[in-house]
Amino acid sequence: MIGTFRAALAVAGIACAVPLVLAQSAADEIEKYRRALQDGNPAELWEARGEEMWKARAGPKNASLERCDLGKGPGVVKGAYAELPRYFADADRVMDLESRLVWCRVALQGMTEADAKRNPFGSPERKADMEALVAYVTGESRGVKMNVSLDHPKMREAYAVGEKIFFFRGGPHDFACATCHGEDGKRIRLQDLPNLTSKAGAQKGYTTWPAYRVSQGELRTFQWRLNDCFRQQRFPELEFTSPASVALTTFLAYNANGAAFDAPAIKR
């Protein structure tokens, strides 16, 4: 009697474990596949196009972006992304990379702000200048340790506001960023989720954007990632380079401090 019961339990145990094992090994195999894709990352094509664009004359002023100050001095691209977002005195506000690129395209190249912000997320039919520029600039911070400073009071304010937005429950589904990114070891379907409230999670999550998104065949930036998260949270649309996007980026980038930047990467 007991023997059969124990045997039945053991069988039941295995039967229950099998789908768990299958799901975990499927997730592991997918992770292996993603790592194998890193050789020959098409993001390099965006980096090359971005470098050309940085050096090319454009806009009504027919000027290049080579005098653009990303925070380390005019034209200094190497290591600049690892220190963004930061406060810029000329704009008197905190800016992430994309808002700073918009600023430079307006100030140096004479574009209107509307033109500089147009088509930020590309498609096969319409390539986005911004994605190429971001790929180039971020590539120049590869291997550099994240080093965002909260010295300036406006940076501290952006961080605090970003944190509040991260935990803001809203919309018909009551979702916040924290709903999916607030705990260790969770995943949606078979996609592992970084816990952005922990140092290790924030480091992993932040340092791998921008990335070539294989499923879209496009290079996607951090502004895109925030925009698409809010779409899936059932929120209205997050405006490109809006103050909320910069505040959230400040919160997450600072939390990632100390980790080596590892992008443009490749993702599913």
Partner: protein, 103 residues
């Protein structure tokens, strides 16, 4: 002419290892755009690699090859400083040739 390829060629033992990243939309002809219209097929049909005037690889591709294709292959021979050339032609008759120096 289309956007340039990224080519890396390295000596490995008595062979040369070549890695090529090509810039191409590789449309299958099955995809529909945002307006619901079918996007016409447009893909690389032929890839040729040459070294010292010799063809070391010839490939016929179809719409199953993905966007921004990555091609890696090895051939016997090759020395540092020599050149490897890659040429592709596509279904619209467009063509692209790029060259790399073996490292």
């Amino acid at each position: 002419m289309a956007d340039p390829m990224k080519i890396r060629a390295n000596v490995v033992g008595d062979s040369t290892e070549v890695k090529v990243l090509m810039n191409h939309e590789m449309e299958t002809g099955q995809r529909k755009d945002a307006q619901g219209k079918t996007v016409p097929a447009w893909f690389i049909q032929n890839v040729t690699a040459t070294w010292n005037g010799k063809t070391v690889l010839n490939a016929q591709w179809g719409p199953a090859v993905s966007k921004n294709p990555f091609l890696a292959f090895k051939f016997k021979g090759g020395a540092k400083g020599e050149k490897v050339q890659i040429t592709w032609t596509d279904s619209k008759g467009d063509k692209r040739t790029d060259e790399a120096t073996i490292a």
